[in-house]
């Protein structure tokens, strides 16, 4: 058998797993691995902060469907990964994080840069490992990739003490069989139960007001094609969560766009009045359901998900189908094709009703030629990119506008921190996405508050000549918090005004990127056109927008869909609370 240094074994396994890019930042305990990476034949991206590295690996994974890899040193390096790992964990993104640990004989002595990383990351990873014997190193690394990418995907962390990376040992790379056999308790359920699939098909045939509710699971399972086929076959309207965007083209007449707290009026009305809800790789998040007891009160619910723990967690389900979404949908479609119904006729009334809702309250905003409306910026980004760009958003109002006013037509097109709601996610994730998908235009739509949380990594984007476009929706506020304060806290704007801001144009220039600014609606198209021409470095556009624009419609937290706020509040006027049904 071959003999190698632990650090070289790490690189060998990464190569074996087909890794072509890693993100990270070196330090004492991981130096041996970085030494080995120096000669490795893949892209090694040095970031300025481990959190950004983690989001980059995450954005890379979301955009490409591959496992993202992030490397950090012990102690502070590893603890800086925490937010990134938790973000990936909540959205089920496959990541492998490799962290250095102090040498084995120092563990537990409060050594320099020591932290109990296994303990710290246990609740925010799908699984984690501390390597205690070099003989286990190749198997653990292979297990990490296998666990990260199979079943309900998620981040896996491998903590490697420095002396193990230095130690020389005989080794071999374990086969796929060995990896599976070494995890006897881990058997993700891929095939859906055929009896349940038949039951689901029966419900679909009988339903008069069905809705497909599609989440991120459909994207992760690469099931967009099946979702689209099912919807078009059975003429069922489709609403997606913000994690499910792109699983069904939003340009299709059957699309209801997003549902939930900032969902469209017609998506929420359709769900509220439905008699059958088919949840596909979605988990009934509270931002989707609002008040549980009034969520789709008349609907029977079919839930297809690979994670049994997601089923009947908050909403009791009538037909649970545990399995891979793609696999289950293929069988369900086959079942429906065998005993077809006159679908068009069966859906006539329902689709007519939905069309009425669409016409009554389409997604809209008050346009202006004096002040830039954030929604207008997003629409213009949509126009100039022909709807084909990958959009990565931070967290806040801009995220919701990016979800509402850009129409997504293919999977892995909209990247955002749906579950954890991590400010600072959008820009580094865009860098990772652009590195993974250099063929696509990648736009980071960021808030001024969100962007500043990982601004340091502009340096990384410049260093590696990653031509991402950054659109800052700059309203000088932590906008979403301000909106809540306006609606629910009597406009007491406590600690939301970002009264000191950098000059974003100069900031970009100081990093070696291009900085642009638009302060009037008439400048928006022009700066976007300029930004599209630059392809050798990042471009930052500072859009100075209407400071007090709100994200609407909105279902207040914990309220029913019947209590939607639909129209923007005018000065001295209460916002309209609609009671529907």
């Amino acid at each position: 058998m071959e003999k190698k240094r632990g650090a070289d074994i790490v690189v060998d396994v990464l190569l074996h797993e087909g890794v072509d890019t890693i993100f990270g930042l070196p330090g004492g305990a991981i130096m041996e691995v970085y030494d080995a990476l120096f000669d490795a034949p893949f892209k090694n991206v040095l970031t300025r902060h481990e959190q950004a590295a983690c989001h980059m690996a995450d954005g890379y994974a979301r955009a490409t469907g591959k496992v993202g890899v992030v490397i950090a040193t012990s102690g502070p390096g590893a603890t800086n990964l925490v937010t990134g790992l938790a973000t990936a964990y909540m959205d089920s993104i496959p990541l492998v994080a490799i962290t250095g640990q102090v040498p084995r004989h120092y563990i537990g002595t409060d050594a320099f840069q020591e932290a109990d990383v296994i303990g710290i990351t246990r609740p925010i990873t799908k699984h984690n490992f501390l390597v205690t014997d070099i003989k286990d190193l190749p198997l653990i690394l292979r297990q990490a990739f296998y666990i990260a990418r199979t079943g309900r995907p998620g981040p896996v962390l491998v903590d490697i003490p420095k002396d193990i990376t230095q130690q020389v040992s005989e080794y071999y790379i374990p086969s796929d069989e060995e990896v599976k056999e070494s995890l006897p308790g881990y058997n993700p359920h891929v095939e859906g139960n055929p009896v349940q699939i038949k039951k689901a098909a029966e419900l679909i045939r009988k339903a008069t007001r069905p809705v497909l509710y599609v989440g991120g699971g459909a994207i992760l399972a690469d099931a967009a094609e099946e979702v689209t086929k099912l919807a078009r076959l059975t003429k069922i309207p489709v609403t997606t969560t913000n994690m499910g965007k792109g699983a069904f083209p939003e340009t299709d007449p059957l699309s209801l766009h997003m549902l939930g707290m900032h969902g469209t009026y017609y998506a929420n009305m359709a769900v509220y009045h439905s008699d059958l809800l088919i949840a596909v790789g979605a988990r009934f998040d509270d931002r989707v359901t609002g008040k549980i007891s009034e969520f789709a009160p008349e609907a029977k619910i079919i839930h297809i998900d690979i994670d049994p723990a997601s089923i009947s967690k908050t909403i009791t389900v009538d037909v649970p189908i545990v399995g891979d979404v793609k696999n289950v949908l293929q069988k369900l479609i086959k079942e429906l094709e065998e005993k077809p119904v006159e679908w068009v006729a069966a859906r006539e009334n329902w689709l007519k009703q939905i069309q009425e809702w669409k016409e009554k309250h389409p997604l809209s905003y008050r346009k202006s030629d004096k002040i830039i409306k954030p929604q207008y910026v997003i629409e213009e980004i949509y126009n100039i990119t022909n709807g084909d760009a990958i959009i990565s958003a931070g967290v806040g109002q801009h995220q919701m506008w990016a979800a509402m006013f850009y129409k997504y037509s293919y999977p892995r097109q909209f990247l955002n921190s749906g579950g954890l709601g991590t400010m600072g996610f959008g820009f580094p994730a865009a860098v990772g996405a652009k590195i993974g998908r250099p063929d696509k235009t990648v736009f980071a739509i960021e808030g001024d508050g969100s962007f500043i949380m990982n601004v340091q990594d502009l340096a990384t984007a410049v260093q590696y000549r990653v031509p991402v476009k950054i659109a800052i929706i700059n309203n000088g506020f932590l906008g979403m918090v301000r909106q809540w304060q306006q609606f629910f806290y009597d406009s007491r704007y406590a600690s939301v005004c970002l009264s000191v801001q950098p000059d974003f144009v100069k900031l970009a220039e100081s990093f070696g990127a291009v900085g642009l600014r638009a302060t009037k609606p008439s400048e928006v198209k022009e700066v976007l056109a300029k930004a599209m021409e630059i392809n050798d470095r990042p471009v930052l556009i500072d859009f100075v927008v209407d400071r007090e624009e709100n994200v609407l419609p909105m279902v207040p937290a914990g309220k029913s869909y019947r209590e939607m706020i639909l129209t923007p509040k005018q000065k001295g006027e209460a916002e309209t609370m609609y009671l529907v049904g």
């Binding site: 246990r122 308790g185 009034e294």
Partner: protein, 188 residues
């Protein structure tokens, strides 16, 4: 077209709170117990007792968890336990004939001969055992299900308990009373 009227509320499941006995087989790896207890702590589930030890297979440990909660909480606990990579098998054996045992060590004050006699009588009735004697204490070992131990403790309490340690419940399905398919195996 007039709007479809919806007036109903989504029916909510009843909350029947009960005591459940859950057995878990896990790979006997470093940190596995922390994973399990962390799962309970992080999700706000309340453990009544948790016991853990090796089995006849050296790489497998067996855990018995006693937990109180409504159906939904118990279902989540079982599903979340099954999600752990190192979990081999999870069963809720509450409704299956099973054996429950707990061991308690109780150090009891013995004032005089009369109390010593009294305690010995109770020890014999309960088929417990005195495992240590000093001038003013007896230390008693008792095994049995929770009810038996609780009953013994309540009878012994008036004498004065100086110290007590309990292992928590261990449980195992009663082979003599089970068929091949068990009602608790819904998710396996």
């Amino acid at each position: 077209m007039s709007e479809i009227k919806v007036i109903k509320e989504r029916p909510q499941p009843e909350k029947k709170i009960g005591r459940h006995v859950i057995t878990v087989k896990v790979q006997h790896n470093f940190g596995v117990l922390a994973r399990i207890t962390g799962l309970f702590a992080g999700r706000g589930y309340n453990i009544e007792s948790l016991t853990v030890g090796r089995t006849h297979e050296p790489h497998i440990a067996r855990i018995t968890i006693v937990v109180e909660g409504d159906e939904r909480v118990i279902e989540q606990i079982i599903k979340q336990l099954r999600k752990l990579i190192e979990t081999l098998r999870v069963r809720d054996i509450t409704d299956i004939p099973h054996i429950e045992r707990e061991l308690a060590l109780i150090k009891i004050h013995t004032e005089n001969d009369r109390t010593r006699d009294e305690i010995m009588r109770l020890v014999n009735i309960f088929r417990a055992k005195v495992v240590d004697v000093s001038t003013d204490t007896y230390t008693v070992e008792i095994t049995g299900d929770e009810d038996k131990i609780e009953a013994f403790i309540s009878l012994i309490k008036p004498f004065g308990i100086k110290e007590m340690a309990r292992t928590g419940t261990l449980a195992m399905v009663r082979e003599s009373a089970t068929s091949k398919i068990l009602p608790g195996e819904r998710f396996d």
